[in-house]
């Protein structure tokens, strides 16, 4: 029997754990947010203090002194493009792997998964040579292609599992109703896999949005640079503009946070792979 005080202790521990977890996750973001509002003089003070008067000059200078808007646009294009192509190619592949009677399906899936085990740093040099050969240096296309190849394994895995959960008889019923396999794909399987698609989309988007290594290697001018690289290049020879870095970080994190909140329920469904009743 649980006594009242035992329940009390459990409650306290639970809330303490919750607060600790939230502090750990939100901490850096909150810190950056506070930093971004500090006037220049207070930025490097130790011990760190809250801003005496919050200012917006860091935000202003981020957008005025640098082509930051262009950078954000680049990131948006790359992330959206990657997400779109990953989902398009991945869902078609997943449908074939889940439904069509192919031999060596399991081997193929294992192969696809093994691709994602390559450490990116090992593939950067060869990929750079390929990108240069294709004349795609310093283009957004290079990034979209690269990111798509790296997100496809995860996409295919999640979506294949989703499609597999659709009962076979639904596929057969649609065949008998006169559908071609492609019609079955977009009329029935895609709608039913919507949670999986949402979860995958957000994961791929975040991956593209935050990716640094390939963006740094493949781009050289602001025309195609993405956000992580741009922010990394803020520091000059003599000074590190902490205020601007903080402001830029806040600006680029907000859209992702908003997206996650909007699709939150779908994402949870997708990641826990809710069973479907037919």
């Amino acid at each position: 029997m649980v006594t009242g005080s035992q329940k009390g202790i459990r409650s306290v521990l639970f809330w303490a754990g919750l607060v600790a977890a939230v502090a750990y996750c939100l901490g850096p973001f909150v810190w950056q947010f506070i930093t971004s509002l500090k006037p220049a003089a207070e930025l490097t003070m130790l011990p760190p203090v809250l801003p005496t008067r919050p200012v917006l000059e860091n935000y202003r200078s981020v957008f005025a002194a640098r082509p930051f808007l262009r950078i954000i646009l680049n990131s948006l294009v790359v992330a959206s493009g990657t997400t779109f192509f990953s989902l398009a190619i991945g869902s078609l592949a997943a449908f074939a792997l889940a439904r069509l009677p192919l031999r060596g399906r399991h081997i193929f899936l294992a192969f696809v998964l093994s691709v994602s085990m390559f450490p990116p740093i090992a593939t950067v040099s060869p990929l750079y040579i390929v990108i240069r050969f294709l004349g795609l240096r310093d283009t957004l296309t290079a990034l979209v292609i690269t990111y798509t190849t790296f997100s496809l394994p995860l996409t295919i895995w999640i979506l294949t599992n989703f499609f597999r959960e659709v009962p076979r008889e639904i596929y057969l019923a649609a065949l008998l109703d006169g559908c071609t396999p492609f019609q079955i794909f977009y009329r029935i399987f895609l709608p039913l896999a919507a949670p999986g698609l949402s979860a995958t989309a957000i994961l791929v988007f975040i991956f593209s949005w935050n990716e640094f290594l390939f963006a740094l290697t493949f781009t050289s001018t602001a025309a195609s640079r993405t956000i992580p690289v741009a922010i990394a290049l803020f520091p000059g020879v003599h000074e590190v503009p902490w205020g601007e870095i903080a402001a830029a970080s806040v600006v680029v994190t907000v859209p992702v946070v908003v997206l996650v909140f909007v699709f939150q329920r779908r994402i949870v469904e997708g990641l826990t792979m809710g069973a479907m009743k037919g």
């Binding site: 065949l175 008998l176 037919g278």
Partner: protein, 354 residues
């Protein structure tokens, strides 16, 4: 409306022969049922007719045209699955409308047809609901609606009533029979429930391990089963089957149950023993002596309302019989009579009817 002919159809999965040499014709407008225990290959036959599987050997013909080259969507058959296979993300309306929408029918036509079908099946007020909001019986009707709306050449039904409770099953059975009468579409039905098969069909094929043991009208199956399997499968409760010794060939007499019986046979047995069968409803039981009456001890009784099924112990052989309700008790010694003209005799070797 179509004749479906199966000629020499074999189907194997790897080394397992699931369907062996199927040769029969389902006539136009007929309600034809394949019945048999689980795993005997009944669903495979439906899949073969629908085109969802290909026969390993043999041909399938619709109205004398081979259909091997037709994909399932082009064979113009509709299937109702055991699990209904409704599209979970579509409403009842959209589910029923789906086959027409795939064919790109005009919106007014679709609306009208869906309305008509929904009325016919009594689900006119459920059109906006999703499958998960419906009961089993309602889902079944939606599945039927989706099949009917296309006015296909043939209906294929794969144990559609198995997932329903007993009462609903009886109701839906009547509905399906009524629908068949009204629409007159060739129906191929599959079930393991022999009662269902008997009550719904024009003709029944009894399947065991991929082979058709007998294919006739329900009455024929009941009165003249072709072999021991069919005899024991059709009829509820099952026929009593026991060994008997041939005491005389001409006229034919056998010894069983402590008596000498004279059944009607049209062929001679291959050995000195045969398998004899008598249905429980053809064995009379009474506490007073019956003409030609034999004695037995009552083991237990199963009341089913107006009468009782009585398990008798006849010198070690178990015999089920019928008695009026409340007439006999367990442990009692009673008299019973076997209607000789209702005896079935099967060859001990081939198990075929004599």
């Amino acid at each position: 409306m179509v004749d479906i002919a199966l000629r020499g159809v074999w189907k194997s999965f790897g080394t397992a022969d699931v369907i062996r040499g199927l040769d029969l014709t389902i006539r136009d407008r007929e309600f034809f049922t394949f019945v048999g225990p689980s795993g005997c290959g009944k669903s495979t036959i439906l899949n073969l007719i629908a085109g969802l599987e290909e026969p390993t050997k043999g041909t399938i013909l619709f109205d004398s045209e081979p259909v091997a080259d037709l994909s399932p969507g082009r064979r113009d058959v509709a299937m109702v699955f055991q699990s209904y296979a409704l599209y979970p993300h579509m409403t009842v309306f959209e589910n029923i409308a789906f086959p027409l929408k795939v064919r790109k029918e005009r919106r007014e036509v679709v609306s009208r047809e869906v309305g008509r079908v929904a009325e016919l099946l009594g689900i006119g007020d459920q059109l906006g609901k999703l499958p998960r909001e419906l009961s089993g019986g309602q889902r079944q009707r939606v599945a039927l609606g989706r099949a009917i709306i296309r006015r296909p050449r043939a209906f294929l039904m794969d144990e559609p009533l198995s997932n329903l409770d007993a009462r609903l099953r009886m109701e839906m059975r009547a509905e399906i029979k009524k629908l068949h009468r009204e629409l007159g579409i060739t129906t191929v039905y599959v079930t393991h429930d022999q009662e269902e098969a008997m009550s719904l069909s024009d003709r029944v094929a009894v399947l065991s391990e991929g082979e058709v043991r007998q294919c006739s009208r329900p009455g024929e199956l009941y009165e003249r089963p072709a072999d021991v399997f069919v005899a024991g499968f059709i009829g509820s409760p099952p026929m009593n089957l026991f060994g008997a010794r041939v005491t005389s060939e001409e006229p034919f007499r056998i010894a069983a149950l402590g008596a000498v019986l004279s059944p009607d046979v049209s062929a001679a047995p291959s050995g000195g023993t045969v398998i004899a069968g008598i249905r429980p409803e053809d064995v009379e039981v009474d506490t007073r002596p019956l003409p030609g009456g034999l004695e037995a001890e009552v083991e237990l009784t199963e009341p089913v309302g107006p009468y009782e099924w009585v398990d008798l112990n006849v010198g070690g052989v178990r015999l089920r019989a019928r008695a009026e309700a409340g007439k006999v008790r367990a442990g009692q010694r009673v008299f019973f009579r076997v209607a000789e003209e209702r005896l079935h005799v099967f060859d001990a070797e081939t198990e075929k009817r004599l």
